[in-house]
Symmetry: C2
Subunit: 206 residues, 2 copies
DNA sequence: AGGACGAAGTTAGTAACACTAACTTGTGAT
DNA sequence: ATCACAAGTTAGTGTTACTAACTTCGTCCT
């Protein structure tokens, strides 16, 4: 019409910004029911379009899942950085806070987390997924490097960062998969993180 | 034709011991192509029966997957115990060997491992799956308890065992999901385990 | 021996899904 | 205005999980 208001630049072509609508609907469906129960058909019903519509915007189901994974990494990066910046850059407490944020994200976004890690190896081939994950990890290395320098820790920051990541990731996985619940119901994961992070942050033993 | 040979005792009712045949075929298919690409129909084709046949033996697809998971835990338990008994019960080296066996199992049975942990929460409801997993873990606690007593480590063996499990599980997950490869291609996981296990086996810091 | 019975197969059919092909409709540039 | 094409549609294919109703064959009872 008249160029009166360009509120949304070019949000809609035909019926709406279907691409974004479908991605968001798919994210919500995966978050609620898990990727293994996700169907494009459901997303279409949510968006109110026919089941053939997605194929104007995405190659296939896997491309949609890949976009969901990217969103997940994005969110996780933000939360991690927010945590460490709030608590203290390059400090033990800050690094511990990053770990806690990782676990919290995993718990609060269980099903997306499961999709992000290991569910479908084929998703790693989706463009950008790997880079997004690397960006997320590189922030851990940064923090560890600062810590090591400040505290005179001998040992490669990279190696130590991998150790921390490994532990935090293991805790997240076992927690959301109910494996802790089956084996050690009383476990306090936060306490475990606080206890273990300083152990892992030390260099090789004398 | 003639009743010349009764080679297998009573291996077959009608056409064969279909239940076992299907479970084995399904295990092999999952091991090769992953659970997300597994179809009962494929297993039927392998076994040479119609696609309706499985339902005389199993409630549904999930029951078959549950049986595969149980087999996986069984195998993992055996390998862990074999490793620790070979290297040294209740020793640092023995416990490290258990961890290595865990990771090795994960690598060599990637797709079954993924099924065992987290892929389908619904599988935890299959009878026996949780018990099988607990049996596996309890062996780790045993070893840690012996080690702690012998070496005068203060701290709860259970807590320490959980820490070890967490780390080893995280390493397995990140390794088989190619996340290490993306972020730290040169990482030597065995070396990391050897370096980190003693750290985790110590009690709370002074 | 000879049925009866039931376990373990079969074929045939349903509903749902991913994806494709071929058609239609609306939009923006000219 | 019209034209081209992006973005929808309907209709159709092939595959799957699972069900229902039928068949076959071994076992046990007499």
């Amino acid at each position: 019409m008249t160029s009166g208001d360009a509120v949304k630049p070019k949000a809609k072509y035909h019926h709406g910004d279907l691409r974004e609508t479908l991605v968001q609907a798919s994210y919500d469906l995966v978050a609620e029911h898990g990727a293994e129960n996700f169907t494009l058909a459901d997303a279409c019903r949510l968006a109110g379009v026919s089941t053939a519509a997605p194929y104007k915007h995405f190659r296939d189901r896997d491309e949609v899942l890949g976009l969901i994974v990217k969103r997940g990494f994005d969110e996780m990066s933000s939360l991690s950085m927010a945590a460490v910046e709030k608590v203290g850059v390059g400090t033990l407490a800050g690094i511990t806070a990053m770990g806690k944020a990782y676990v919290r994200f995993a718990v609060e976004n269980q099903r997306v987390f499961r999709l992000m890690f290991g569910q479908h190896p084929v998703l790693k081939k989706e463009v950008g997924v790997v880079d997004e994950g690397m960006g997320c990890f590189s922030k851990v290395i940064e923090q560890v490097a600062i810590y090591c320098e400040r505290n005179g820790v001998r040992g490669d920051p990279m190696t130590i960062a991998v150790r921390l990541w490994t532990f935090v990731h293991g805790a997240s996985s076992l927690l959301i998969d109910q494996d802790y619940a089956a084996v050690a119901p009383d476990l306090d994961v936060e306490a475990m993180l606080e206890e273990t992070t300083p152990l892992l942050l030390s260099g090789p033993l004398p």
